[in-house]
């Protein structure tokens, strides 16, 4: 059994085989696609969590919808000061985690991040790449808690 959802595993494998220059280009490309994952006009969500924490340089809004089959779908809105790597990781997570169950999402280990980002770009001040995953897991946890409370 894969530790990661299938779509995320595919993205990880794609990045792992890229030379450094292409890895950077791919990260930039993902970072520029972040807007595609923002909430759209008129959309409603099962859970909305918009806030700015000490760990991130700007406001991050996480919007969660659960479909009829129990699959999670995220939209994320990032403030303009969020770093490029964090933007890239946001687009990767929105795509890679799409359709997974909230229970499975909470179990996703974060050790895939260096496999995507590569050793050259991993540094202390890039740690906010982990932040959006933490926020997504937190949204799933709140959703599940509400579901249990409603039973």
């Amino acid at each position: 059994m894969n530790a990661f959802p299938e779509k995320l595993e595919e993205i990880i494998e794609l990045f792992e085989h890229l030379p450094e220059t292409e890895r950077r280009e791919m990260l930039i490309s993902f970072s520029e696609n972040t807007r595609q994952h923002e909430p759209r006009e008129g959309e409603t969500f099962d859970l909305e969590d918009v806030r700015k924490d000490d760990e991130c340089t700007d406001e991050v809004g996480v919007f969660l919808n659960i479909d009829d089959q129990g699959g999670a779908h995220f939209r994320v809105k990032l403030g303009p000061k969020v770093q490029t790597l964090t933007r890239a990781m946001t687009a990767i997570l929105c795509q890679g985690l799409d359709g997974s169950s909230p229970q499975a999402l909470q179990e996703v280990p974060q050790d895939f991040v260096p496999r995507i980002v590569g050793s050259e770009l991993v540094r202390l001040r890039s740690q906010t790449v982990y932040y959006v995953l933490t926020r997504m897991k937190s949204a799933c946890a709140v959703y599940l808690k509400r579901e249990r409370a409603a039973i």
Partner: protein, 305 residues
């Protein structure tokens, strides 16, 4: 092209900007957008982007700008120190910088890393250095042109500097300890919470490995941000004098040491004190709080103790 005024509004803005620059002690170290646009094709000018956001340059930069990364390019990769003389010469050679090239630095975070690069270039005695006032965010806010095209540069000659001028503008731990014991001016440019000891990292940042919170005994608290306007440009000389001379009581000929956590925010303050206010003896303690706060047997102060 230099004799031909830019169109209306830009020219008016430039005159106002130049008046601001003219009041500084060393106005020649600052440039604005109009200056950059006039020199985009100047072979004697090299524009250098230096950021905290490691991929920001790749998303688009000022046409012709090269990227110098504080960790990869300016620091030694195995010793906590800067590159040595030969490394600096090699860095300049591969970035098309000769000894006489005018280097203009700019970057994100209100020019923290641009000032850091300026400081490192000064360590090696490079003469013609300038900072783009307002840095990258201000350039973008003014709709300054950006490109993803990375300049293709032929290596140029750069003589290996005779020495790194550590003894002139850099303070090591032992220097700072002696400075504190002698009750000489120390400026802590971190956030108020970091200074007081309430937190051990700056807001919005991860913990960068320090065991104790507080400040160097006797240090003045004056966050770097007080020197910058909301649009990331530097405050006027009059405003800066109020902050550092009237507020902190610093004098032009004082022996001053500035510090933060790892030396980037204090590079900004070092630049302000040295070039905008004209202080003659300012050093940057780059070991800063990540060294002092972890050092065995060294006293700290906390505001509420």
């Amino acid at each position: 092209m230099t004799g031909c005024p830019p169109p209306g509004g830009l020219w008016v803005r430039r005159l106002a900007m130049n008046e601001k620059f003219a009041a500084y002690a060393h106005p020649e170290v600052l440039v604005d957008r109009a200056w950059i646009e006039e020199h985009l094709d100047d072979p004697n000018v090299r524009i250098v982007e230096s950021n905290e956001d490691i991929l920001l340059y790749d998303t688009g930069h000022i046409p012709g700008a090269v990227h110098i990364d504080w960790r990869r390019d300016l620091q030694d990769q195995t010793v906590r120190d800067y590159i040595r003389e030969e490394g600096f010469a090699a860095l300049c050679r591969r970035n098309g910088i000769t000894e006489s090239t005018t280097v203009v630095v700019y970057g994100d975070k209100s020019n923290w890393w641009a000032c850091y690069a300026f400081w490192v270039f000064t360590l090696f005695g490079h003469k013609n250095l300038k900072v783009l006032d307002g840095g990258r965010d201000h350039w973008v806010a003014q709709d300054g042109p950006l490109t993803k095209e990375v300049p293709s540069l032929e290596p140029v000659p750069y003589p290996t500097p005779l020495k790194r001028r550590d003894d002139e503008i850099r303070a090591f731990f032992v220097d700072t300890l002696a400075h504190a014991k002698a009750a000489l001016p120390l400026v802590d440019v971190r956030s108020p919470g970091e200074f007081s000891g309430e937190v051990t990292h700056m807001p919005e940042y991860p913990q960068e490995g320090v065991l104790r919170g507080g400040h160097i005994p006797g240090a003045h608290s004056c966050p770097w941000k007080t020197a910058a306007n909301d649009d990331d440009t530097f405050k006027s000389r009059e405003e800066l004098a109020k902050i550092y001379e009237e507020g902190l009581g610093l004098k032009q000929d004082d022996n001053v040491v500035a510090y933060c956590r790892i030396g980037e925010r204090s590079s900004h303050t070092w630049f302000v004190l040295t070039y905008l206010l004209g202080f003659e003896n300012v050093r940057n303690y780059d070991g800063s709080w990540t060294e002092w706060g972890n050092m065995v047997g060294v006293p700290i102060e906390r505001t509420n103790d």
